[in-house]
Symmetry: C3
Subunit: 148 residues, 3 copies
């Protein structure tokens, strides 16, 4: 199994970027937890008598958690789809475009979600990323169909 060096590099960059972006959501959640004094487990509030403990308590905290979960549901699939897509013999320019579209759409999705920009902004960013994922999924399934 061999993959073109430039093709692999394009995937490695965008996959790395998307993982680091997803990890960043933990820090944004933590920032809201301290700002709103809402922590997730009772031991976190031991030295903070006024802290609210639990999930579903503070909308600003929950909003970041929902954006994080949406990354899990869309970016983690991309990490596998993007890698397998490399083996479907795509043109470098096509692959780079798909990866850039996905990265751009997912960064936009978080910006729109966290700044509460009115719909259909979030839906559009979601579907741009989903479209890139489904396109790669289609290429993978049609390429490897005979190995079912």
């Amino acid at each position: 199994m061999n993959v073109d060096k430039e093709l692999f590099a394009a995937f490695a960059f965008h996959a790395g970027l998307m993982v680091v972006k997803t990890l960043g959501m933990s820090f944004l959640t933590a920032r809201q937890r301290f700002a709103k004094n809402n922590f997730i487990s009772r031991e976190d509030g031991k030295t903070r008598p006024a802290a609210k403990i639990g999930t579903g308590v503070d909308e600003d905290v929950e909003r970041v958690r929902r954006a994080h979960q949406n990354d899990i549901e869309n970016i983690f699939p991309f990490l596998t789809l993007g890698f397998l897509y490399l083996f479907t013999n795509p043109a470098l320019s096509t692959a780079t475009t798909v990866f850039r579209l996905f990265s751009g759409a997912r960064i936009l999705h978080s910006v729109v979600y966290l700044w509460e920009i009115p719909q259909p902004s979030r839906a559009l960013a979601f579907f741009a990323g989903m479209g890139a994922n489904l396109y790669m999924g289609y290429k993978i399934l049609s390429t490897f169909m005979s190995a079912m």
Copy 2:
């Protein structure tokens, strides 16, 4: 590191299928959200005065979300385990059987969950997928134990 072409193709097909299947859960959730008028963020309900906003509100919506989360907990591990398993020198027929078993079990798991087919159906589908994952995990750990 080299992997047999047919072995890789079998993994690529089943991994692609499982990722696309997981992505599909988003559409099933959206379908229930519109059917039950229950959306996740307040900006989604701006033009729908009767919409219920939030999680944990509608059982039919939550059921799809639980099935989706169960895919995340089991299919995402498969994507890595299946790939590393390729490097443990399995017979093609064994690997194909394990991948097919996993794919079948996880599709069944969603059908059983969403149609609310009585237990122990869901438990059995869950354990079939989990068994395939743990089998591959065991092969990987025993093959690469010396690199601990």
Copy 3:
């Protein structure tokens, strides 16, 4: 794209270990569900008239689920970061140290979370794992930056 055999083996072992560890959280959740008679879907309680159904009901069940979710948020990123990191030409000894640090930190994170060991234990275990992930992310992005 070629990777040193020993480097790959080190990744394969630790990635396999971390996935199996994450899968194990399902069994720990199930154990608490039976111990506290709290199940997730109504069909699970058909033959248990006293069962409590739903999420957010029992703190001991929810604690395992939060630890599981934290694994999803940190270990799944590691699976991709660790793999791409292999292509950044790291020294075997450095890579092994990073993988061991990550594995150790994440096992510790679960122990600390489930046994409710006082903070900042959980925060420290979290940041050790996050640090390993971000280090690999930095190496990947700087190596493949030109393929943006």
